[in-house]
């Protein structure tokens, strides 16, 4: 028991390892939020008129909206007027190859363990690295472009593939969707764009790495993934931020469009700064993620490992419009200290014979609050649709909370919908069973916890699975005895 406490102590007092920041010369927008700022950002990025109009329309919508309060999270409000909406590392001109990128910027990513130097990699993962408001480098561009795959920063896509961006931007998450999506639409600075043409199977994992460095800055990136007929892509996203005393806002939008027979797999390991052990500082992670299974037999799969952020408010969803389309959601959310997470998914069944599967594993420790909030909606036309949901919560410590808010709305009699949820601590009988077979308590706990999250971790691509397991191990081991 005492050893368990020691390990728990060790973890809870552990500092956030990505908490450093780097001083670099930055190109910044003035603080505040108004039409001029939006015009400033748009001009800075040399955007076409249609995009500026789209931003201004979003801003108009945003002004009419109020901040949502239904989530089971409590936090001091952010004054949006005191934020900076654009911050970019100063560069002479846009680099053409990696060699031209400022080595100081590359070092930031080196320190994070993200290698942008593609030659050194044996196994390829194409990375788009986003620092504060702009994308600094994208690797493996040429290899991908031979297959017709477009993988670049959002601003590049606006310049080089305006017809694609214009067609799909806002088609899955409209500007009127919610408060933070509207804000993002108005002020988004950069992000990643990915287009997989018809019949192409992307040969490597595509990855975006987000890093907030500047203080008082909000990060508003936008990711748009379009998978044409019969294509496949696996996409990874990771994020960290420096340790600062004030709360920072991250309001991103991710849109995925899957055409007939296309498959998109989106994995996230979210490790934004969670605040210190007294609950000071940390990122507010208010993200809108949605995938549209537009074509028949298409499939979108979300996998997330959520360990960071002071407050998380995130519901990766699937709109199953095409017949026989499939949506999946796998999530492990870990909260510790004063973290609060209100996360889950939405599965909207519109097409016939659509299927969805939800596996959510929440783990709360310290004084944290962990909520699962999900909706399964079966529309009138969605004959023979099928859903299975499982959301389990594991509690560690008697000051934390685990909550479940599933909404199940069924309008079609041929739908089969199942939902189950459990909340418990690690069973003493399970530990006893292991002890009996010669496995000591420490190992037994590790074994049980690993098994608990395995269903989700198995869904992650290899590299991410290792990172996620490390993150989990730090949180969990020794905390239950």
């Amino acid at each position: 028991m005492s050893k368990d406490n020691e390990i728990l102590e060790e973890f809870t007092t552990k500092e956030y390892e990505h908490g450093w920041s780097v001083n670099y010369e930055a190109d910044e927008a003035p603080i505040g939020l108004n039409e001029d700022i939006i015009k400033w950002i748009s001009a800075k990025k040399e955007e076409p008129q249609w995009l500026l109009n789209w931003r201004l329309k979003a801003f108009d919508t945003f002004k009419k909206m109020t901040e949502p309060e239904w989530a089971n999270v409590h936090y001091p409000k952010i004054d949006l007027q005191k934020l900076r909406y654009y911050s970019a590392p100063k560069q002479g001109k846009k680099p053409k190859t990696l060699d031209e990128v400022d080595p100081e910027l590359l070092q930031i990513y080196e320190r994070l363990g993200i290698n942008l130097n593609e030659q050194k990699r044996l196994q390829g993962i194409a990375v788009d690295a986003v620092l504060d408001s702009v994308s600094v480098a994208t690797t493996f561009k040429e290899t991908l472009s031979k297959l017709g795959i477009v993988f670049c920063s959002f601003s590049e896509a606006v310049k080089e593939h305006p017809e694609l961006v214009k067609k799909y931007l806002g088609s899955v998450v409209p500007i009127t969707d919610n408060y933070y999506a509207a804000l993002n639409s108005a002020v988004f600075s950069d992000g990643s764009f990915c287009y997989i043409p018809k019949g192409v199977r992307c040969p490597m994992e595509l990855s975006t790495y987000f890093r907030i460095n500047a203080a008082n800055t909000g990060q508003f990136e936008r990711t748009l993934i379009v998978a044409e007929d019969e294509s496949y892509v696996s996409y990874l996203e990771g994020c960290t931020a420096p340790q600062r005393d004030e709360n920072q806002l991250h309001a991103a939008v991710v849109e995925i469009y899957a055409a007939t027979n296309a498959e998109v797999k989106y994995s996230t390991v979210q490790n934004w700064f969670p605040g210190d052990k007294n609950g000071k500082g940390g990122i507010y992670n208010f993200v809108t993620k949605r995938g549209l299974c537009a074509g028949d037999h298409s499939k979108i799969s979300w996998t997330q490992v959520e360990t960071g952020s002071a407050v998380t408010w995130k519901y990766p969803s699937c709109v199953l419009k095409g017949d026989y389309s499939v949506g999946e959601f796998y999530s492990v959310a870990v909260t510790n200290n004063y973290q609060q997470a209100d996360t889950g998914t939405k599965m909207i069944h519109i097409g016939k014979n659509t299927k969805s599967r939800i596996v959510s594993k929440g783990i709360s420790a310290g004084k944290s609050q962990n909520s699962y909030r999900g909706q399964v909606q079966v529309m009138k036309r969605a004959h023979n649709s099928r859903n299975f949901s499982q959301c389990d919560s594991l509690l560690m410590g008697d000051r934390c909370g685990a909550h479940t808010f599933p909404y199940i709305d069924i309008n079609n009699p041929t739908a089969k919908v199942e939902h189950e949820a459990t909340t418990s601590k690690i069973g003493e009988d399970q530990i006893f069973y292991c002890n009996q077979r010669g496995i000591d308590t420490e190992d037994a706990v590790a074994l049980i916890v690993n098994g608990y999250a395995k269903e989700v971790l198995n869904q992650l691509p290899m590299e991410f699975a290792v990172e996620a397991q490390k993150l989990l191990a730090l949180t969990l081991e020794g905390s239950v005895g």
């Binding site: 934390c400 685990a402 808010f405 069924i410 009699p413 199942e418 939902h419 949820a421 459990t422 909340t423």
Partner: protein
């Protein structure tokens, strides 16, 4: 106040000053005005827009008055095979002369008591509970003496006559002493056709080691709008079991809240809703585990046809001190028609770590293979369907411990399903 409230016919009800319970009613009125009627956006009334329904169906409300009842009317209303005691109410007013005298049980009119009304079913929790607290009429206090077990079930019959007023607001306070045990069966009997709004509140206080069984059957007219708030405090070693069966009505909303206040206490909630036509049934349940070592079980099942709608919202709340809690909840639904809808939200809010809590929820239709099995053995499709549905409902009915009432429910359900096996 909100404009909705100003124009809503229910608001006028609060203008009439009542004679008794001045401070209780004033608190109810304040709580009602503070909350206002729930709007379409209110989370608790999201799928059940009573406010709209009430203003659509009623131009004005009039508080229902008492009326005369005859022995024949009462005898006629009691279901076949019932062997027990009866308590008779008319529009919520207690009729002493027509009710049984039961040893160990004292019944008095609310106006003669000085109870802390609203201390269990709190007005600030629900606007309709507040409305009742501000303007209830009649009502009764039922007290069960210490160490008393009532040998037979007690049937609470409330006769409704909308021509004596369309707003019926009964209120019952039931209290048991330690080690008391009693079974109640509750039923509304509508005497004349007509629209009405029934807004009941029941406050139940179980003593230590007391055992209360509370059965309700809702089989009212197609026009009935019915709102019920039942809240109960359960002490150490005590159990409370509720079985609620909803068969008809226009819009039915049942709020059932159990507060587990003593260790080793147990709360059980069972419900069945068989709906057809345009019936809308909404069951909101809430279990509050405040202390360690308590248990709650919940099972609600629904069979929905035609244009009917079933709503289920079950909340298990486990407080920080409530270690070693066991809480289980299940909701199963079968949809039989294109236009039937189910909205279900099983909720867990858990603040203690050493607990076992689970909830499960399913929506689907009958098993094709089971149907085929029965058909292969010469049972017609309709009958086979009925049999399977009856088996589905049976899991809830099993929890009715009184045989005569169980037989009565089974009969009604089989009639509905078209599988009268006898």
């Amino acid at each position: 106040m909100s404009t909705l409230l100003d124009t809503h016919p229910l608001e006028k009800i609060l203008e009439n000053p009542q004679k008794d319970f001045h401070s209780v009613r004033a608190m109810g009125k304040d709580a009602f005005l503070k909350q206002g009627l729930p709007s379409a956006k209110a989370e608790e009334y999201k799928f059940t827009n009573l406010t709209k329904k009430l203003s659509q169906n009623f131009d004005s409300f009039e508080i229902a008055a008492d009326f005369e009842l005859t022995e024949e009317q009462v005898n006629h209303a009691i279901f076949e095979g019932f062997d027990g005691y009866r308590l008779v109410f008319a529009n919520g007013y207690f009729h002493d002369g027509l009710s049984s005298k039961i040893e160990g049980l004292t019944i008095s009119k609310l106006e003669e008591s000085s109870l802390p009304l609203g201390s269990i079913a709190k007005a600030e929790k629900d606007p309709f509970a507040a409305l009742n607290q501000a303007s209830f009429e009649g009502g009764a206090q039922i007290a069960l003496a210490k160490n008393t077990q009532i040998d037979k079930p007690i049937l609470i019959l409330n006769f409704i006559n909308p021509s004596n007023g369309n707003l019926i607001q009964p209120r019952i306070w039931f209290e048991t002493g330690d080690f008391g045990e009693a079974t109640f069966i509750e039923q509304q009997i509508q005497l004349e056709a007509g629209d009405y709004f029934l807004n009941e509140v029941k406050e139940i206080k179980g003593g230590r080691n007391s055992h209360i069984h509370w059965y309700r059957i809702q089989n009212e007219g197609k026009d009935a709008i019915s709102m019920s708030n039942i809240e109960t405090d359960i002490q150490q070693d005590a159990t409370f079991t509720s079985v609620n069966i909803s068969l008809s009505g226009h819009m039915v909303r049942n709020n059932l809240s159990l507060n587990l206040l003593g260790s080793n206490s147990e709360g059980n909630m069972y419900g069945l809703y068989l709906t057809n036509g345009n019936t809308h049934v909404d069951n909101h349940t809430n279990v509050d585990h405040t202390i360690p070592h308590a248990e709650s079980n919940e099972l609600y099942k629904g069979v929905l046809t035609d244009n009917s709608r079933g709503v289920f919202n079950g909340k298990i709340f486990v407080r920080q001190d409530a270690q070693k809690t066991n809480a289980f909840q299940q909701n199963n639904n079968i949809l039989l028609s294109e236009n039937a809808t189910v909205n279900t939200k099983p909720q867990l809010e858990i603040w203690a770590d050493d607990v076992k809590c689970s909830h499960g929820c399913t929506t689907g239709q009958l098993d094709e293979e089971a149907l085929f099995y029965l058909q292969a053995r010469g049972i017609g499709k309709d009958k086979a369907k009925g049999l399977l549905l009856y088996a589905f409902a049976g899991e809830v009915l099993e929890n009715i411990k009184d045989d005569s009432f169980k037989a009565y429910c089974i009969n009604l359900i089989q009639e509905r399903l078209g599988t009268n096996l006898s």
